[in-house]
Amino acid sequence: MEELILKLKQEIIEALNLEDVKPEDIDENASLFGEGLGLDSIDALELIVLMEKNYGIKLSDPNQGKEIFKSVAVMADYISKNRTK
């Protein structure tokens, strides 16, 4: 899971153009939206694309994103249980 969490952090940084952020700057338990990294609605949509592109997970309802993208740790857990790639 540690490996997946690190990989996910790098993918998030790249997909969302978080230029001056390094993986070690991201607390995997901190909220991604709101305070944490301060991501917005477009970032949430990009994370949905990331899930499909890198892990073959299609979210049937985009509102599921609110739960799944709570933090990197929650995301990694969901991915490990549902990935098809």
């Binding site: 917005d40 609605s41 477009i42 949509l45 949905i48 694309v49 985009p62």
Partner: protein, 371 residues
């Protein structure tokens, strides 16, 4: 004083403004469910023009064909000389010939994808010697183009303006809105509690505007464009730009004079909510509000021109057009939306739009009575 001399609509509902108005009044739409169209993996609902119905001689893209077809009709009805240097062409479009970016399409030169180039092709078709102006201000372009034209005419720079709003659908646009999860899987429901997003549409709509004072004519009174200064894709939660635009165009007019506000009403959760807030802030809560997206879908660059033309015809018909798809109000403020035909004796209306980039536009129209 800027007046509308003639108009035309080319859309899935018809090739003339009359055909379109009759179809809308009869509650019709060509919104259809498409599965596998253009090899797109996700289905979508859209209102598309039958490509075979548009025959324009010459090597033109489909976008240029609908533009030329619509403008030709409006220019003929206006009886103006499109080749005169006192005539200016103003084109409103968001994506023009963007479908040409598909590597598999090779029958036009690369630069035809540039909006200025395609506008030039159109202007040359009509023999016009002036450089056409292309307004590309997201979905408010149709109203912006009218405002641009109004100002040129008011300053005496030209005698007539041919304002054309047009956009065609393509995998580019459909997939983009799908990636935004902004599309409804069913026919759209503006302002409704169960609304799930927008439908897409395509059309070309033209108005020929003139600077001569005439009686018994539609006057474009006042227009405004204002920004939310908040987010590049989400509308302001307090409807800031939309409210400011409404306030400006109302000026010292009374809300009592306004027959209706024809809103953007795209049926996304955020847009319709935002417009209800803006209408309330502008003191227009007692004025009927409608949306025409349920008949055509969102026609992007065409919307501002198309919807204004239909609104003018509605007032000429003493009618407030129903909001097709609406059933129960689903926004915070009690805006007066209805799905049944309304009656009005009033002679003014406001066209309201919003778009990506936080921009909002409003335009006040008034029918001058014959004396």
């Amino acid at each position: 004083m800027v007046v509308k001399i003639s108009d035309n609509i080319v859309s899935p509902l018809g090739l003339t403004s009359e055909e379109n108005y009759s179809a809308v009044k009869a509650g019709q739409s060509r919104l259809s469910y498409y599965e596998g169209k253009w090899n797109l993996p996700e289905p979508f609902v859209a209102s598309l023009i039958d490509r075979d119905k548009i025959q324009v001689d010459g090597h033109y893209t489909f976008f240029e064909q609908i533009v030329i077809k619509s403008a030709s009709a409006a220019i003929a009805e206006a009886g103006i000389d499109s080749a005169s240097p006192r005539v200016i062409f103003v084109l409103s479009t968001t994506k023009g010939n963007v479908y040409l970016l598909d590597k598999r399409i090779t029958d036009f030169p690369d630069d035809r994808v540039l909006l200025g180039v395609t506008a030039d092709v159109v202007a040359k078709h009509f023999g016009n010697p002036n450089k056409p102006v292309v307004v590309s201000n997201a979905c408010i372009s149709g109203v912006c183009a009218q405002i641009v034209a109004m100002r040129l005419l008011e300053r005496g720079a030209y005698d007539y303006a041919v304002v054309i709003g047009a956009d065609m659908q393509s995998p580019f646009i459909v997939s983009g809105f799908q990636s935004f999860k902004a599309l409804s899987p069913e026919q759209c429901k503006p302002f409704d509690a169960l609304r799930r997003g927008l439908n897409l549409g395509e059309a070309a709509a033209t108005m020929v505007l003139g600077a001569k004072e005439t009686e018994g004519c539609w006057k474009l009174v006042r227009g405004a464009i204002r920004n939310d200064a908040n987010h590049i894709s989400g509308p302001s939660r307090v409807g800031e730009g939309s409210y400011r635009a409404l306030k400006y165009v109302l000026g010292d007019c009374s809300a009592d004079d306004i027959a209706f506000v024809n809103a953007h009403g795209t049926a996304t959760l955020y847009n319709d909510e935002m417009e209800s807030i803006a209408v309330e802030r502008a003191g227009l809560l007692d004025v009927p509000v409608n949306s025409l997206k349920g008949y055509f879908g969102h026609t992007m660059g065409a919307a501002g021109v198309l919807e204004s033309i239909l609104s003018m015809r509605a007032i000429d018909d003493n009618t407030i057009l129903p909001t097709r798809g609406f059933e129960n109000l689903g926004v915070t403020h009690n805006v007066k939306v209805s799905n049944t035909i309304g009656h009005t004796e009033k002679k003014s209306f406001i066209k309201l739009l919003s778009g990506f980039g936080g921009c909002n536009a409003a335009l006040l129209f008034r029918k001058e009575e014959l004396k």
